[in-house]
Symmetry: C2
């Protein structure tokens, strides 16, 4: 995941950038969590763990949500918390089934806000076909939290024979995305910065279980899927290149980006590749399946704007190269530092 | 769970007492979560959900940990987070297998504290025979968290034919506890208040999977088990009385309480029945099995001081009555308000 992590020094402290989904996050995961916990399943760094339990193949995943503001265009922390966990299961090829939710509430949070969030989670669960079956609530004193943090965990069932992995890409494979990137991140930014767009941009947060199923039905040989959330498409591609020990070549002009997202990125000096999505899939499929995969994604309302954005190559393992509209090539790296804290 | 919950008013806000495990927690769960989410599994209010997934019977549970201080006599937030989830699975009769951990870190947390906590979690997982297979990390800005919050979720396998439930108690059944109550709560209190005890009191936090197995092996007809954490033994007994629609009668002199816990409770005006344990089981077994269950618990190092503390009766369903050393009887209620915030 990272180049030569340093040993911990007594001066090391958590920075906001450790939550960015970029380079610092990767370092923290490698230095503290993977080394600290050991364990081969964790070290695979998939979006979900696939384990055997009671004779069943179970996918298991967890995510905490600390997004600010709690309510934003196109969603809220509750919807995001359900979608995030549903999607982490779905991109592993699992059928999402059961969710848990643990709430950390700050003293003085209005109960009406909590009820609104719970109602939103209920709707999101129904939409994704999952049942919330267990939960927990803790309360922290005023000033020791930030209104509400939600941690969702999920269980899914992995059909026999299905083995998607971020390590499975092979030279020649095609790389696709299911729609325009960066909508979620820029929607959050727009609320925080009080931007006004001509078109009202909303977060792309949505459950992707159905879109993932369509792709897998039409293209069972799919190597892997990821939902490019924190750290954006860049993080997903760099992790892919690293885990599969392959090169990734993408074409800038092929990557769908809404004009308003591009404009906001220009204004704030952001790279759309680093901006979070919450309703998109990045998928890798064998070259022979590329057009079929594209057609499958486009056949679904959630994948209408899907595109083939590049390919896997044997050269430069671990490296992602983007060819610009002008024909120049540049390496794509993990986000350095922090771009927009608490996006999810 | 609660008597006639009121509709939400716009003035209602989260209070520290909503996290106490007592009356306000029960109201919040009923008013906001059970009603808000619907769903029959959640409404059972067991410590874990038992679901069918891929042909297997899977137990699933989650808990957030916000304990202060992070390191305390006998444990730390990491051990507590592993034990809490392992125990919620074990008291449901499940064999704990896999854990997830989601970390919410406050900007500026020393990485050495994080590493120490991770090392402690790794040890606790090894001791409990579970593997931590997936995780997440978020970072919140300074002043919007409190160093570290950890949410663990867990998956266990429920053997065929096992169906423990807080609703399963019947008149005549015996009620047991596996050891002295209140050690965890008073250990935390002692650090916060700078108390010095003649005997160094330490938290009872420990994994109970082995003790639960011993009890179930010797007494397969066990009706239910609970680990009386927040809200103490009183909450576990009141929930039992309510869910099973039975009366519970306990004898004060039969309930093991360490002298230093009793002394601290006297000093601070606390009822030991409301003080949290993190390494005890409350169990209900058929009358005919009571002595066998007691012997089974006492045969294990973690249950040496187990005791039969009372019985289930048909009278006064929903009510818990304690007979004092002096022979007087008083009802045992849920903790009202907040006693000691952020105990776990």
């Amino acid at each position: 995941m990272t180049d030569c992590p340093l040993p911990l020094s007594s001066h090391d402290r958590i920075l906001l950038g450790h939550g960015s989904g970029g380079r610092l996050t990767a370092e923290l995961i490698e230095r503290v969590f993977v080394r600290g916990f050991g364990g081969s399943v964790l070290a695979r760094l998939e979006d979900q763990a696939t384990v055997e339990a009671g004779g069943a193949r179970i996918a298991f995943t967890t995510d905490s949500f600390v997004v600010r503001p709690l309510f934003f265009p196109g969603g809220d922390i509750g919807r995001l918390a359900v979608h995030g966990t549903v999607n982490d299961l779905a991109v592993g090829g699992a059928l999402p089934r059961f969710l848990s939710a643990a709430f950390i509430l700050e003293e003085s949070l209005p109960l009406q806000d909590l009820s609104r969030i719970v109602a939103s989670m209920r709707e999101a669960c129904a939409e994704a076909g999952v049942e919330l079956v267990t939960g927990d609530t803790k309360v922290v004193d005023r000033g020791k939290g930030d209104r509400i943090f939600i941690t969702t965990s999920g269980i899914g069932v992995v059909p026999a024979g299905r083995a998607l992995s971020i390590s499975a890409a092979r030279a020649g494979d095609a790389v696709l995305v299911s729609g325009p990137i960066g909508d979620h991140g820029i929607a959050i930014l727009s609320v925080r910065e009080g931007l006004e767009f001509t078109t009202a941009l909303v977060s792309d947060t949505m459950p992707l279980h159905d879109l993932c199923s369509v792709l897998l039905d039409h293209c069972p040989a799919t190597r892997c899927m990821r939902d490019p959330t924190r750290g954006g498409l860049a993080s997903a591609l760099v992790e892919l290149a690293s885990a599969s020990a392959v090169g990734v070549q993408i074409r800038e002009e092929a990557i769908p980006v809404r004009p308003e997202v591009r404009a906001a990125c220009d204004l704030f000096g952001l790279d759309p590749l680093h901006v979070a999505c919450e309703g998109r899939i990045m998928a890798v499929v064998p070259a022979a399946d590329a057009e079929r995969a594209l057609a499958a994604l486009r056949s679904h309302p959630k994948g209408r704007q899907a595109a083939i954005i590049g390919k896997i190559v044997a050269d430069d393992p671990g490296v992602v190269i983007m060819t610009s509209r002008l024909g120049t090539a540049r390496p794509v790296g993990l986000l350095a530092g922090e771009q927009l804290p608490r996006i999810c």
